[in-house]
């Protein structure tokens, strides 16, 4: 018995849902950031699964680009987090409810 495409899609859906739940539940900016990374990885798993089952390399190229975007997002996002912490002395998103720093 070998794993089928739908198995991978199910795992990906579960991971994505957990990530969405984390973004909604968490109040710490860094924890929300990590849940966004979790969602990106869930989508990556779908891409790789489709690429593997259809024998097409395009999906894996998409994953490569998604990883690059995630790295850029990590750099800018953590810079924003440091700026917020420097101005407000907290990482609670409820405290940072206005866009003004």
């Amino acid at each position: 018995m070998t794993p089928e495409l739908s198995w991978y899609l199910a795992v990906s859906a579960v991971l994505f849902t957990i990530g969405v739940a984390g973004v909604v539940i968490k109040r710490n900016v860094i924890a929300m950031f990590m849940c966004i990374e979790l969602m990106l990885n869930a989508v990556n798993l779908t891409f790789v699964a489709f690429a593997s089952f259809f024998q097409d390399v395009t999906g894996q190229l998409f994953v490569f680009i998604v990883m690059t975007v995630a790295a850029a997002e990590a750099a800018v996002g953590l810079g924003i987090i440091i700026a917020i912490f420097r101005n407000r002395e907290t990482l609670d998103v409820d405290e940072a409810s206005i866009l003004k720093l």
Binding site: M1, W7, A71
Partner: protein, 221 residues
């Protein structure tokens, strides 16, 4: 055998993902997230994508998570405290989650169309050579756009993380053109006076406020 491995890695991935959300300490969340990344890399190997598995471990579990852990340590984040605001929405959330799971189960149960993998897996899909060929021929433009994106991310991160001069709490600072309340410079002016002085660089602000310049090369160790 493959199914057992799949269940093992998928189980580790989902368990670690739940731990990411359930932990209150961000550092524990980060460690659990590394578990998710590594088990996903194992799933990539099972899907015949060894290059992406290596990149997943190197870029995600290596670079990005080190950055996150570094920021957590740097900011010395305390544990998240429990709050009861909006707790009346918990039953609604449970109901909606059950509905979502029911929908997904329905789709996965009824839609049975699955592509057939060719027997004897001889395709080079997923090997480094095929990815490089695709990246530098058909998808050259997205690849170049990605490099511009990374350049912009470097500039943006440097701009955001730059430390301006130490200002008193009353100072209003706008990045780029920095505007200071007049009573910072002249204490005799009443507090609600809206007159402001503009300074365009951090060095100018420091000079107005009489703060010693951090960027003086003579004082650098």
């Amino acid at each position: 055998m493959l199914a057992l491995l799949f269940i093992l890695f998928a189980g580790i991935a989902i368990g670690s993902a739940i731990a990411v959300v359930a932990q209150r300490n961000p550092l524990y969340s980060a460690i659990s997230l590394i578990g998710v990344f590594i088990s996903l890399a194992c799933l990539y190997v099972m899907l015949a994508a060894p290059f992406l598995a290596a990149v997943q471990v190197i870029v995600y579990a290596g670079a990005i998570m080190v950055l996150v852990v570094f920021v957590i340590m740097l900011l010395n984040v305390e544990q998240e405290e429990r709050r009861t605001r909006l707790s009346f929405l918990v039953p609604a959330a449970v109901g909606l989650a059950a509905l979502l799971i029911a929908e997904v189960t329905f789709i996965l149960y009824w839609v049975q169309v699955s592509p057939v993998t060719p027997a004897g897996n001889v395709s080079d899909t997923g090997l480094t050579a095929s990815i490089g060929t695709g990246l530098f021929t058909t998808y050259l433009l997205p690849f170049e756009i990605t490099s511009i994106l990374l350049l912009m991310a470097i500039v943006g991160a440097m701009t955001l993380a730059r430390r301006t001069a130490e200002l008193p709490p009353g100072a209003r600072v706008v990045p780029g053109a920095q505007v200071l309340a007049l009573n910072i410079i002249d204490p005799t002016v009443p507090l609600d006076d809206t007159t402001a002085i503009e300074a365009h660089t951090t060095v100018e602000v420091a000079k107005i406020l009489g703060i010693p310049d951090d960027h003086d090369p003579a004082r650098r160790d």
